[in-house]
Point group: C2
Amino acid sequence: MPPRDDKDRANLLQGTLDLLILRTLVLGPRHGQGIARLIQQQSEDVFLVDHGSLYLALQRLEERSWVSAKWGASENNRKARFYTLTPTGRAQLTDKISEWNRIAGAIARILGAEKSEA
Amino acid sequence: MPPRDDKDRANLLQGTLDLLILRTLVLGPRHGQGIARLIQQQSEDVFLVDHGSLYLALQRLEERSWVSAKWGASENNRKARFYTLTPTGRAQLTDKISEWNRIAGAIARILGAEKSEA
């Protein structure tokens, strides 16, 4: 087995983490840990979001008013910050989904290119 | 129109540039400019690879022996460095394609998740 190129994956994830967070919040308000858990579950353990990256991203999204946040109680009654998608965030999500589809489509075209095109 | 988030795209591209270069070289040896042109064409102008990133990536791939390079003459008879995929590079390409499919599949699952899963 070759060593896994974690740096490549981290770069890729950084570029799409905002997309995944915004998409997760369409399902309803959630605290940070809940967002990370849902991304991990729905990706079938492909994305393990580390807490540092997650909270940096959430902070950035809050500063841009793409999410709003307020304090509440988590399922085990701990104080936690709950994040909600704003209308601006929802519009951004639509743009980011288009952009992702554009990029994924372009990569698919390159990966599928025929040898005879050389 | 919202401002395009070029930084996000750059991060994403950095993580997949090696993949695109290796995949392009399956079609035969090429000089750097030829690689950039083919990536741009096959992606239908989604990926405009800047020369700095391209040559850094090619240098890295050569150091890892995933590509080999030798001097030759370009179509307009200029001296140019031609890159060839090595057997190690070909094996890496296979791994990177699997990894890309894993990531793209995971993102597709998240984007396609039903609201009712909340």
